[in-house]
């Protein structure tokens, strides 16, 4: 994700669809949650089932035979790690609400493959929780879109898109016709009155269509965000990294269509006290098998909701306590980095690349260095930026939740 203001480290898990006009107020609320350790935004992985087979999927390699996945526990199909049942999910949603969750993101797998999705939405509605769906859009048939629209607590849907053409998109999903079905679903949602945000995942295979994707969204009047980060998979495999854009593509995008998204000119790095994002403070995620993570991108389990009440995990798990206690000095690669002010600090990428929450993913580092270089090139004063330790007190306060939409 490209933050509009790179001083605001974030991971995208506190992004809220459909409320762009109230972004400042939402940021205030996110900051309150961060400061008071309230799990305000929770991503709930309702299922690992999916009807497409994206080459970059972070769950597991969907081209692997199911038996092999089950053997390694990659899809949660082992007896030791059964997926949360509908009853467990319904109970969990109540626990999340009791703990202070207001924004519930239902994801997957493909969330629309869950047979009891509407029961989950009803539960959230009855508990006054706002819900957004993260979906590939292909299952948004007319009846489904209309039924979703009747939920008064549905904020909207974030729909992933992987190209401006069927060739590129379907090549990534490995399902012929998925591009058209995604667009059909998106248009049905809008026609039904549901807010939609498109999420462009830029990869080696579709980078050449980035500008066309952005133009397509603009022409159809959809807000969108652009995400360049592909991570290793949660099952420990890294075949997904084959989809990462290459350095020449990245530079071409940053000098071209993505240039307006980068903050111009010199900028100080963020203050050390505001280095961490909202993970384990105002955000968390729960896997389809009940593992509680600091965010959906970081499969570092703080506990399982089958073994402990969610509130207990949230309050006292050693993993979350560790994350909350981290200071800039605990990030050995990041602390001295001169590009820190231009970095997304993507913890998911770091964790999946190194197994260490405080590590660094070389791709993210390279992206930050390039963003920094371009910022300096565009600055009227082309002298080098200040050192990372000289950040003034007047640097922007931490304000999670900044939309990445141009």
């Amino acid at each position: 994700m490209i933050p509009r203001d790179a001083s605001q480290a974030r991971c995208g898990d506190d992004e809220v669809v459909g409320l762009d006009s109230a972004a400042a107020l939402i940021r205030t609320a996110q900051t309150w949650a961060h400061d008071n350790l309230v799990p305000f935004n929770v991503s709930l992985e309702t299922t690992l089932e999916c009807n497409i087979r994206c080459i970059h999927c972070y769950n597991f390699d969907r081209d692997e035979p199911r038996a092999r996945r089950a053997a390694c526990g990659a899809d949660g199909a082992t007896p030791e790690a059964p997926r949360l049942s509908t009853d467990e999910l319904l109970r969990l949603i109540g626990e999340l609400r009791d703990a202070g969750c207001m924004f519930l993101s239902l994801t997957g797998g493909e969330v629309l493959t869950h047979p009891d999705l509407f029961a989950l939405l009803e539960r959230a509605r009855d508990l006054n929780m706002a819900v957004q769906l993260l979906t590939n859009g292909t299952l948004l048939r007319p009846g489904v879109a209309g039924r979703l629209a009747r939920f008064p607590n549905l904020l909207g849907a974030s729909v992933s898109l992987y190209g401006a053409t069927a060739a590129a998109h379907d090549g990534i999903t490995q399902v012929t016709g998925s591009f058209q079905r995604t667009w059909d679903g998106v248009e049905r949602l809008r026609a039904a009155g549901v807010a939609v945000r498109l999420k462009f995942i830029v990869m080696r295979q579709n980078a050449h269509e980035t500008e066309a994707m952005m133009a397509m969204a603009t022409a159809r009047d959809f807000p969108y965000s652009v995400d360049l980060t592909i991570t290793a998979r949660h099952d420990g495999t890294n075949g997904s990294l084959q989809a990462r854009i290459e350095r020449p593509q990245l530079e071409s995008l940053y000098r071209g269509p993505l240039r307006p998204l980068l903050p111009p000119g010199r900028r100080p790095p963020p203050p050390a006290a505001t280095f961490n994002c909202n993970c384990a403070r105002g955000n968390c995620a729960i896997s389809a098998t009940g593992e509680v993570y600091p965010c959906i991108s970081v499969p570092w389990s703080a506990g399982n909701v089958r073994d402990q009440p969610f509130a207990e995990i949230w309050r006292s798990s050693p993993v979350f306590q560790r994350i909350r206690g981290l200071t800039l000095d605990d990030f050995p690669k990041c602390a001295p980095c001169p590009h820190r002010g231009h970095c997304t600090h993507d913890r998911g990428a770091a964790f999946n690349a190194t197994g260490d929450y405080t590590g660094a993913d070389p791709f993210v580092c390279e992206t930050a260095a390039l963003a920094h270089q371009l910022a300096q090139e565009s600055s009227p004063d082309s002298s080098p930026d200040s050192s990372p330790d000289s950040s003034p007190d007047s640097s922007p306060a931490r304000a999670p939740g900044t939309p990445a939409t141009p």
């Binding site: 109230a22 107020l25 305000f40 202070g100 207001m102 006054n128 929780m129 706002a130 607590n153 904020l155």
Partner: protein, 97 residues
Amino acid sequence: MTDQRAVRRIGSLPFQKMNEETLVVDPKTREVHLLNATASRVWELLARPQTVAELVGELGREFEAPEDTLRADVTALLGDLASKGLIDATDWQRDER
């Protein structure tokens, strides 16, 4: 808004208490509202249908304020909440039938 007419908050609206304030989200209008401490207390009370008189009576027990002042403030607040579509009387009346 009259003393006799009962209103209640729209039951399905997402909201969250944030210390003394309350954040209310209306996905249909895509608006977000931040209620101050007094409005938050009224919002809590409006989980059940309440008349102005009932609200004034309850707030009078909790806050040291003249009844006339409370009545004026509550009436103004309910008008504001109604204009934003956050409270409703019709649904309650229909539900009660």
